[in-house]
Each structure stands twice: as structure tokens, then as C-alpha cells.
């Protein structure tokens, strides 16, 4: 009698669970696949890697596995894919300007190479998503065909007009005000980009510099600030590359609580000689997403290492 009652309870419970699951399955909204308006154009070997590792989320060709459609999981998967498409969508490649397409490919490589993408949680259940060392080499070799060379020519010593700082100093929508005092800070590093034609000098404020020297960057202390000054490269008659047209100054400000949604860093960019603040909250999110590739140095890309 007791066993019979237990069986009844188990049967009824199982029935309820099954009914709820079935009901949720029918009501759960799966991600749809909008039309492909223009696909990535790349050599077959390169495209195959992106198709396999990136397209499941970063394209309009999502091919969900059975477990991606389970109630509870489906909404997470849907949200992940919609977020991924907003950041980069290989099926709407035609909507990107040529420079943005190339920038997206360099970023995609760096996200994969750092292990940030495909998301470890995704790769764990989609074994075909992982990218091998040989495939990374294939991607690198492809990108090197897109390496930029400097064609802008440096003019002979033309005195540039002195700077006049705007008054009041501009403030980004992320709440960061331009900090002219970065000129007093120590230089952290200098970089020469070949995925575009810019050169940069990075400065670290005393809190950031102390953290670097003491290797206390996991996490960086609140109050650490990194400034980055960006110029277009120009080639001189002597063959050397010099800073030409000033592009922008960027700041990363550490405040773990205030900038929680962007991994503890606040972002701001001040563009052209007028120092126009251009960083919206949405742009800051995009900055933070890309900076995940530098997780090993707490979100900072431009630290020189003992290679």
C-alpha cells in the first residue's frame, strides 16, 4: 500500500513536471534567424574557422542544439546570441564600412587568441567551437596580408599651433573629465599599430604606476588611471615614422563599484583637437567587451612583458 502511494506521488509529480516543461517548451521564444544580407568574404580556410567558432552566435545562421532549446536555457541562449549579433554579425557584413570590417577581424582574432571567445561556458558544451593552434596561425597569416603600411608623408618642420584647452574641461557621458595632468604622469608604454596606422603613448597616474611596479593588478586599485594619446603615423624623408595628425586622448579610470557594469573600468575618449567627448554608455560597454581579451593584465592591453 505504501509503495503504491509513493508510486502515485512520483507519477503525479513526474506528470506535472512533464506538463510544465512541455508548456514552457511551447511558450519559450527561440532565437530566430533573420535574412543574411551580406556574408564575410575571406579565403575558404579562414571562413571555415569563423563559421564554426563564431557564426553560431555572431551570425543570422544560428543552429541550435537540442539542449539550447530547453526551457530556461533557451532564453539565455537567445539573449547571448542577440547580444553577440549586436557586437558583431558576420551575416550583415555589408553593413560595416571596410575599415570597420578589418577592425572586427583583428578583434575577433584577439578575442579567440586570449581564450575570451568562444565563451568558455559555450565551448564546454560545443566541442566543435574550439580553435586549434594551427587554425590560429591560419588566421594570423590571413591578417598579416591586411597589415597596414604608412603612406602619409611628414611635412618639413611646420610649427603647429599651440594647444588651447577648452574651458570648462570636457566631460564624457561616462562621467570622466579630461585630465590634462596626465602630462605629468610617467610613461607606461608606447605602441605602434599595424592593424591600423596609428601610434600611441600610454601614461599611468601614480596609483597605476605603483600597482604595476608592485604587480598588484588583479584587480587594479581604485583610483588607477591610464591615459592614451593617439596620433596618425607619418613617414619622414629619413624613413622614420613620426606622430602626425593628433587623433584623440583616451582614459581608463578604475573604480570597481562605480564601473561595475564595465568590469570596474570607466572609459572616456576625447577626439580631435577640440577634445570632443564621444564615449556613450553603449560605447563603454563595447570597450569593456573588447578589453576582456586583456584579462590577464586586469583589462589593460599595453603593458610590455618579458617575452
Amino acid at each position: 500500500m505504501k509503495i503504491s502511494n509513493r508510486l502515485k506521488i512520483i507519477s503525479v509529480s513526474a506528470g506535472i513536471v512533464l506538463a510544465v516543461t512541455a508548456a514552457l517548451s511551447f511558450t519559450t521564444k527561440l532565437v530566430d534567424n533573420p535574412p543574411v544580407t551580406g556574408d564575410l568574404e575571406a579565403p575558404a580556410a579562414v571562413k571555415e574557422i569563423f563559421s564554426r567558432a563564431c557564426y553560431p552566435c555572431h551570425s543570422n545562421t544560428a543552429n541550435l542544439k537540442w539542449f539550447d532549446k530547453l526551457p530556461g536555457v533557451a532564453s539565455i541562449v537567445r539573449n547571448d546570441i542577440l547580444t553577440a549579433r549586436k557586437h558583431l554579425n558576420f551575416s550583415e557584413w555589408d553593413k560595416l564600412a571596410p575599415a570597420a570590417r578589418e577592425a572586427a577581424l583583428w578583434e575577433a582574432y584577439n578575442m579567440i587568441n586570449s581564450g575570451t571567445m568562444p565563451l568558455p561556458s559555450y565551448a564546454a558544451v560545443h566541442s566543435d567551437a574550439s580553435v586549434s593552434a594551427a587554425e590560429l596561425t591560419t588566421l594570423r597569416n590571413y591578417l598579416l596580408t591586411k597589415k597596414k603600411t604608412v603612406t602619409a608623408v611628414k611635412q618639413d618642420s611646420i610649427a603647429q599651433p599651440a594647444a588651447t584647452l577648452p574651458n570648462p574641461l570636457p566631460t564624457s557621458l561616462t562621467g570622466i573629465q579630461f585630465m590634462p595632468e596626465f602630462r605629468q604622469w610617467e610613461v607606461m608604454s608606447t605602441t605602434s599599430r599595424f592593424d591600423n596606422t596609428t601610434m600611441r603613448v600610454m601614461y599611468a597616474n601614480p596609483i597605476a604606476m605603483k600597482a604595476i611596479r608592485e604587480k598588484q593588478i588583479h584587480p587594479w586599485p581604485d583610483g588607477a588611471v591610464i591615459a592614451k594619446v593617439v596620433w596618425d603615423k607619418e613617414r619622414g624623408n629619413d624613413g622614420y615614422i613620426y606622430p602626425g595628425n593628433f587623433q584623440n586622448v583616451q582614459f581608463m579610470v578604475r573604480n570597481a563599484e562605480r564601473y561595475k557594469s564595465t568590469d570596474g573600468w570607466g572609459y572616456a575618449k576625447f577626439e580631435t583637437k577640440t577634445l570632443k567627448p564621444t564615449t556613450t554608455l553603449l560605447v563603454a560597454q563595447s570597450c569593456a567587451t573588447c578589453h576582456k581579451a586583456a584579462a590577464k593584465t586586469g583589462g589593460i592591453f599595453d603593458l610590455s612583458t618579458l617575452n
Binding site: 539542449f67 530547453l70 582574432y109 584577439n110 587568441n113 586570449s114 581564450g115 568558455p120 561556458s121 564546454a124 558544451v125 591578417l143 618642420s157 603647429q160 599651440a162 594647444a163 584647452l165 590634462p180 595632468e181 596626465f182 602630462r183 605629468q184 610617467e186 610613461v187 608604454s189 608606447t190 605602441t191 605602434s192 599599430r193 599595424f194 592593424d195 591600423n196 601610434m199 603613448v201 604595476i212 611596479r213 604587480k215 588583479h218 594619446v229 596620433w231 603615423k233 624613413g239 622614420y240 615614422i241 613620426y242 606622430p243 593628433f246 583637437k273 577634445l275 581579451a293 586583456a294 590577464k296 593584465t297 592591453f301 599595453d302 603593458l303 610590455s304 612583458t305 618579458l306 617575452n307
Partner: protein, 148 residues
């Protein structure tokens, strides 16, 4: 059961990946050059030799690099791959520091040129006058807050 296994593996993988990333301490290159409060005037990239140099100057040099108190230092590094961004070179090993000092010295009249060489045993110093002229005639990079 299979579903549980799938999620267990996913969660474990995520946790392991997170821990691994946090535990790895990057070998950050120590700062070999002490700027002694001088400011960067410009940056020069020598693609042929894979070098990048930063020209520092004291306050007097930034105003006028031929006045008596002016001091310039051209600090040259080997360029190396930026470990965290493929598509970028970053300053690596310090190679040499060339100094142009306009302070009158006991050994001679300014400008006094000297070079300190690091990690570059095969380096042969170039003509001091030519190097002094090169360093003193480098254009300033445009900064939005200079003079500050």
C-alpha cells in the same frame, strides 16, 4: 541526467577557466629608464631596425632646447610584439639612452652629447655632432594640453 551532466561540465569549465585566468601572473617588463620628471616631446619609430625611441626633455628643453638649462634624452627600445594585442608592437628591451646636455661642463662647451648603451653589445656610436643635430631638430608631437 544528460542535461545535468552538460551543465555540470559547462559550469566546471567556466570556473576552471576563470580561476586559471586570474592566477596567471604576467611577467611585466620592469621600467629600466627613470624619466627624472622629464616629459615626452615626441616618439620615433625605426621600422627597419625594429626600434622605437621616445624623446624626453626637461622644462627648459621643451621651451627652447638650445638654452643653457636644456636637457634632452632620446631613449631607444627594441620593439616587440604586444602579447595582448596581435596588430600592435610595444616598446620592449631598453637599448640606449642618448643625452644632449646644454649645461656648460668642465670638459667642454655645450652641447655635450653622450650615449649609454644597454643590451646591445654590437652598438657603435654615431658621430656626436650629427646625433646632437638630429635630436635637437626633432619636431614636437602635438599634445592637446601643452604646455602644462
Amino acid at each position: 541526467m544528460r542535461v545535468i551532466n552538460v551543465f555540470t561540465v559547462a559550469i566546471l569549465a567556466f570556473v576552471i577557466a576563470s580561476c586559471t585566468a586570474k592566477k596567471e601572473t604576467p611577467a611585466i617588463r620592469p621600467f629600466a629608464f627613470n624619466d627624472s620628471g622629464m616629459h615626452v616631446i615626441t616618439t620615433i619609430i625605426n621600422e627597419k631596425d625594429n626600434e622605437v625611441a621616445m624623446l624626453y626633455g626637461n622644462k627648459a628643453a621643451i621651451e627652447n632646447n638650445t638654452q643653457p638649462a636644456a636637457m634632452l634624452k632620446l631613449v631607444t627600445y627594441r620593439e616587440q610584439d604586444n602579447k595582448y594585442w596581435f596588430g600592435s608592437y610595444i616598446n620592449g628591451e631598453l637599448l640606449r639612452v642618448e643625452t644632449v646636455n646644454m649645461q656648460p661642463t668642465a670638459n667642454g662647451q655645450p652641447p655635450a652629447y653622450s650615449v649609454d648603451v644597454y643590451n646591445q653589445p654590437a652598438f657603435r656610436p654615431a658621430d656626436a655632432t650629427a646625433r646632437t643635430n638630429f635630436i635637437q631638430t626633432l619636431d614636437h608631437a602635438w599634445y592637446p594640453c601643452d604646455p602644462y
